[in-house]
Structures are given as C-alpha cells and as structure tokens.
Symmetry: C2
Subunit: 242 residues, 2 copies
C-alpha cells in the first residue's frame, strides 16, 4: 500500500518526538526532508534511504515524496516542529489530488512555539498568535497587518523565521510595528536551538528586542500586557490568581 | 532532589506523547492532574500514587504538587495537550517563588490545535491565533476583542473551550463576531476526542458552524480567507504554489 507520512519531528532531538512520529519513521522505506532536519533524524536510521532538496525547493520535495509513495514506497516526509505549522502538510495536501492512490497521514509534532515556550517558562499561557516574519511566501504588508492586529488584541505572540541574511531588518521592523501599540517594557524572550547542543534562551524587553540580532534558528516570544518575569522565567498568567 | 515536572501529555493516547513526557511520568513518584486526564494516563502506571482535584480547583492542584515536591517526591503534574497552552505551567511558575527548593521543569506536548489540525488536514499552515472561549478566567469583552482582531488580521483560528453547559451560546456568539468581518463561506472544521475512542471530525462553513452545537472536548478551527477544502481535508496554503 502506497503511503506517505508527513511527520512533525519536534525541535530535533529524539526525546521530543512523539511515539507516533517515531513509529512513522520506523515504518518508512525512505526519509525525505530539508537537509538540516534530515541530519538531525537520519542518524537514528543509518540504513534507510534518504532524499533531500534545498531550501526553496519545497514543492519539488513534496512531489518527489508523493511519487515515491505512488511507486509503492512507504515514505516519511520530515518537518521540523509540527507537520502543519509552516510545514509540508499543506503543500502535500494541495498536490495530493494528482496522486489518488497515495494514502497520506499527517503526524503532529511539538512546534517551536511550544518547545521554545517550555524553555522560557509559560509565555503562551493565555491566548496567542503565531506569525512568520518571512516574506518569501507572504507579502510583507500582510505580515505588518497581522502584527498590528496581534498587538491590538493584546495577544502573546510567537514569531517564526524572525531573520535571515537577506531579511536582517525584519525583527526590528516587526518590533517597531508592535511598539506602536505595546509598551517598550513588554516582556519578551528569545530561544535558539531547543534540544540541540548550545541551546540558548534569554528574557528581554520589547525595546531591547528591537535592537537584538537573531538568526533563523531562533524563535521569538513577545508577551501580552499581562506577561511577567517570575524567577527568571517568562510567564503569561492564565488568570487563576486574579 | 525535590522535582516537579509539568507535563503536556498530548491529546491522551500514549502514542501521541513525547519520549520526554513519558520519561517524566516514568520518573515520577506521584501523578497529579485533573481527573479526566489522569484517567487517560494512570492506567499506564497502575502502581503509582495519584492525586487529583476537580475542575476550578487548579490552584489547589498546583500547590499540592509543589508541596509534594518540596517534601521530596518526584511529581508529574499532567496537562492535557501542552503544559503551557492553557495548562498548569503558568500557575505553577506563579506559585513557585514560595517553594524555593523545588526544581521545576516544563515538558511541552502536542496541544489540541496541532493534534486536531492533523486530523482535519492542515488548517494552521500559515499564521494563526489560538483563543479560548471560556470566560471563567478572561472577561468576555477581551475574548470578543481578540476574535475581532483575529478576523481583521485574516488569521486562521483555533478555538479552545468552545462551549460548556453554562456557556452553550459562546460558539454562536463568537461566530457572529467573526461574521462581522469574515464571509459565511469561510471553511471551518471541528474535531472531538482526538486519539480517543469515537474520534469525530467534520468540515463545515462558518455560517453552518454558527448553528452547530459542540462540547468541551471539541476543538474548533476557523479558516482564513485562503483556507480551502481539498479532497475532504481543510488546508490553509502556505503560499508555495502562488
């Protein structure tokens, strides 16, 4: 039976993978993925075939995974974090009608908003938004609008893809938009490389975040007006104590 | 060493738990949690001590877990889904300064927005918000404001706690607010009891969602303007194909 698993593998280390994700990788004949994620997982499966495409070749990767499954292989298409959150589940499902014989199963995983939040404390303890600052696939004007709405709604916010070589100013621009509404003392946090060697985390104000350089492996958290530092951790109260 | 793990156990079945969550439960002397969640997990550990408090006694449960840890037990405080998203991580961290000897570790898990999305397809494939419709801890006016901001920003939205016996009309009221901005044909989905016996899922329009009754075990997804039904699944494109 031709089968494609789209698998969220979490932040990268085996212990943050679900048993279901691990079972899908166990079952697969071929592991597909962006090279960086494959490198995290493939060592667990030294004898399995692997297939990768570079960044910006995501559709090719999805098509190849679907073709392999159509040809009778059991395929696991790996996604960092969750399969759905900025992952390969949506492009695979968009392409799937052209591969009617391929059974596809989406396997959820711990996305960076959750794994990063756990490192910092509990910044997403109440209503929150997840926004990518990459304008490769979403116009910057849409991103700006969403940042304004997130601030207006006093959501805590997790920012994905906060920066890259070609978008070094995006985090600063995002902070400037948030600062139109939010106080500069709003508590924020940054986490880099959850579960990987050299994991880093720190808390800072929104005003300080504006002048901070981060990379693509970093997830940024901007608190709501209720978010506080408590004992070195970033906490957005749910409201039980008020 | 006194230690408290605040553990996101995912939707409830063992296979959707991370290895890290499972290891924390393995290590614990005592499992604490809301009874419904304990009932899902405790059968895996028939010989462990358990402690539960009813709904609305969350602070008592956190304090008791902290006291047990202070007294030298290794304690796992169970949370449905993730430890942070409407979970016990934030109240525990608020209380923690009174228990300086207790080491606390937050263990992330697959929250209902992710596990439910995987069942439906990929509704959270682009920027999204997570909003609870429970006004036990958040004033309804704040919830309304966030719903308006989410619609204004054209986010996909995952709604937690969409209804209960005492709040049967909340989902309808939320839909009416979204319908001020969103088209009635906006694609939505509801998922109930992910990973449990009798799991249910269906797709429907926002206009139809308004007149649908759901319960507390249901997670509701409201698409963005880009969300579509493709082959029976709910998909919010990331934008690779445009």
């Amino acid at each position: 039976m031709a089968k494609l698993y789209v698998v969220g593998v979490g932040p990268g280390d085996a212990k943050r993978m679900t048993a279901e994700a691990r079972a899908a990788l166990d079952a697969a004949d071929v592991l597909c993925g962006y090279r960086t994620y494959l490198e995290l997982v493939a060592p667990l499966y030294p004898d399995k075939a692997v297939f990768s495409t570079p960044m910006k070749r995501e559709l090719d990767r999805c098509r190849r995974a679907l073709e392999l499954a159509r040809d009778g292989k059991t395929v696991a298409l790996l996604c960092s974090g969750d399969a759905g959150v900025y992952g390969m589940a949506s492009p695979v499902l968009e392409l799937l009608p052209a591969y009617p014989d391929v059974e596809t199963e989406i396997v959820a995983g711990v996305t960076a908003a959750l794994s990063g939040a756990a490192v910092l404390g509990a910044p997403l303890g109440n209503d929150f938004c997840v926004i990518s600052l990459s304008d490769l696939l979403t116009p910057w004007a849409v991103i700006e609008k969403r940042l304004r709405c997130a601030a207006e709604g006093d959501f805590a916010v997790a920012l994905y893809n906060p920066s890259s070589r070609t978008r070094a100013e995006h985090l600063r621009r995002a902070c400037d938009i948030l600062l139109e509404t939010c106080d500069g003392t709003t508590m924020c946090g940054v986490v880099r490389g959850v579960g990987r060697r050299g994991q880093e985390a720190r808390l800072l104000t929104l005003a300080a975040l504006r002048d901070t350089r981060v990379d693509m492996l970093t997830t940024v958290f901007v608190g709501s007006s209720q978010t506080r530092e408590i004992g070195g951790r970033l906490v957005t109260p749910r409201g039980y104590r008020t």
